[in-house]
């Protein structure tokens, strides 16, 4: 029997009134991956109500945005979700480019796609390892980090940083993609394919993992919609929602890739979505490597001091955890009037209270792992 919400919540109710207690999970807990606190009202091991308490590493990035020029805010964007820094920078840069109507050179766009997808793979690898840690498997994270290290080396060779890249600039890139990077990326794609098969054999097909994730933590399309959950969460609920397809940006319309989608709504579906996404990212990278043209990597005539036309602009990208949107409001001055960062983990976690009701503690933690939370992304 699998402890679904129905079966589990029915069980204790049959025995009359139960004593409940409050379990304070976190802010320092091995499964919280950072400083997330969850106040759990428990009946034995069954969760009656799990209320996430956030804000422990709130840094007020949005206020910082109002205090500095557009260009000076750029380093901040890498630090919101440090695991998919490329996507976040892309969204902010994209919003400003949209406002300024800057045409980004094609080479830069392709380079952005390649680096973004590499970043997505590296982010998913951290998630994969961390999820397995949540489930008590220690070894996979080290295998994943071995491969992730290769991505980080590539990106470090390209832009000099391993995590907080800050690689994109308004109208292009920080520096040009060199042949060494392109060659290294091609080699990496070849390297990762057999490794992904190894991941599948070692973990995905493992009966224990299947039992831990299948039918656990149902999050259906309707719940995703009401909470605004995106990314692998909504794709694991059978909705092929992907910003790369729904609101096409960059050169994604020129690339052929599938949006992985599983209709089971459970943690396993979310798991499989991410595993498939890694393969699709490899496909995207291969195509982009084939298509990348030569040419400039920065748009000409980008003014040094950006004064955006007054108005509000938004730009959304598909970050590793889902839809990341930057909404900027400009009043025509050289510093932003308002920068709004819509973080995917924030919305993905907001459904936790509803989704975890009646679950058993380890399952709730497995579900939390399948949401792939990055706490600084939630707190911003």
């Amino acid at each position: 029997m699998i402890a679904t919400r129905e079966t589990v919540s029915a069980a204790p109710a049959a025995q009359g009134p139960q004593e409940t207690f409050v379990l304070n999970l976190g802010p320092q807990h091995p499964a919280a991956h950072g400083v997330l606190r969850v106040l759990m009202t428990m009946e034995g091991e069954w969760i009656q109500r799990a209320e996430p308490v956030i804000g422990y590493i709130h840094r007020m990035h949005e206020k910082m945005g109002e205090n500095r020029t557009w260009a000076k805010f750029l380093p901040n964007t890498s630090r919101i979700d440090y695991l998919s820094a490329m996507h976040y920078t892309h969204a902010f840069v994209g919003a400003v480019e949209r406002a300024m109507k800057i045409e980004v050179p094609l080479r830069a766009e392709y380079a952005r796609v390649i680096t973004s997808e590499l970043n997505r793979i590296s982010s998913h690898m951290v998630w994969w390892g961390a999820l397995l840690l949540d489930l008590g498997g220690f070894t996979p994270i080290l295998y994943a980090f071995d491969d992730r290290e290769k991505i980080l080396d590539l990106l470090e060779g390209l832009c000099g940083a391993r995590l907080t890249y800050c690689y994109y600039r308004f109208g292009g890139l920080y520096n040009d993609v060199d042949d060494e990077f392109l060659r290294g990326t091609r080699d990496f794609v070849q390297h990762l394919r057999p490794r992904l098969k190894m991941y599948r054999d070692l973990v995905t097909d493992n009966v224990i993992l299947r039992k831990r994730l299948t039918n656990i933590g149902p999050i259906d399309a309707e719940m995703c919609r009401r909470y605004g959950a995106t990314g692998p969460v909504i794709r694991g609920a059978g909705v092929p929602y992907d910003v790369r397809r729904m609101e096409p940006y960059s050169v994604y319309p020129r690339l052929d890739f599938k949006v992985p989608m599983y209709p089971e709504c459970d943690s396993m579906a979310r798991y499989l979505v991410r595993m498939d996404e890694m393969e699709q990212s490899l496909r995207i990278i291969e195509q982009a490597l084939d298509q990348i043209p030569t040419g400039p990597f920065l748009a000409p005539k980008v003014p040094r001091v950006l004064r955006l036309p007054a108005g509000d602009y938004s730009y959304a990208v598909e970050a590793a955890r889902g839809r990341f949107m930057v909404r900027i409001v400009s009043d025509g001055k050289e510093i932003p009037y308002r920068v709004r960062l819509r973080a995917p983990s924030f919305s993905n976690l907001s459904l936790y209270e509803e989704a975890s009701r009646g679950m058993i503690l380890p399952d709730a933690l497995a579900m939390m792992g399948s949401l792939d939370l990055v706490i600084p992304d939630i707190d911003r």
Partner: protein, 342 residues
Amino acid sequence: MTFLSLEPIRVLLYLVGICAFVGANAAYLVLAERKGAGRIQRRPGPNEAGWAGWMQPLADGLKLLAKQIMVPPGTDSLLFRLAPLLVMAPPLMCLVTIPFGENVVARDLNLGLLLVFSFGSINVMALMLGGWASRNKYAIISAARVVSQNVAYEIPMLLVVITLLMMTGTMSLQEITAQQAGGFWHWNLFKLWVNPLMPVTFVIFFTCMLAETNRAPFDMAEAESELVAGAFTEYGGMGFGVFFMAEYANIVVGCCLATVLFLGGWQSPIGILSSGAWGLLWFFLKTYALILTVIWIRWTFPRTQFYSLLNLSWKILIPLSLATLLLTGAMMKLPLLWRALS
């Protein structure tokens, strides 16, 4: 020599020997575990203290000893302090009757197997007391888990052992070993003509042993990503160290038992060279092979879910072990029935 002169020496030897054996095993199995994990994860493991990290257990032990043992306010301080002792005692007791070699056994009781199992059950109580006395919610959840887990896994384990007992007809571990003399095809594991499901029986026994010793993938009691450290959450210093050592002592006992029951104990796999030191060699080879397998399993699999753990016991292992029990009975009694009929 008379009984009186021999007995105190024997007791002393046992006490010193077993304590040293358990201590050394616990210390160096931790190192083996960390080294093994390192190998599997393609890193060197502890390699700073001493040559290739050989002094690491000593360093760890000294560090643990130097730490203050905190008794959190509101705990049942007597039970809190008693639990680490209680958890260490059963594996020490169990080793009384394990035959390490032809003549190396502290006391060959004719109900040895029974002693092992009865003391093995106390282990649960110690963990439960430790968890309960801690006055910590994680520890209490863990204590509750330990009890139901152990209850669930004693049953298939005992059923499997009963199957073996039907074959051996004795509870004396020394005698069980003696019956398996003469090459590996005489070991209980390979006595397929008595019970073709013997390998399955061994797998069941091994699984139950993992569950009873709270080893991954059945480490529900510790489950550090869920329950922080489970029953040991509030323990620090040597209190925690003793729990840790007891876990390894239990593994040693479990693997020794598996060796004796299924793998011919100290009997050599080729039929000769079983006596004296050779016996010890064979015994430890087999035991440590099993222990390494336990470590290997831990670093390969994720933890099972609690109810699937119980499901595994009640829905798969118990029916299977009952089936093997029936089959063994039938296989043993059919020739008699045949003879009676003809």
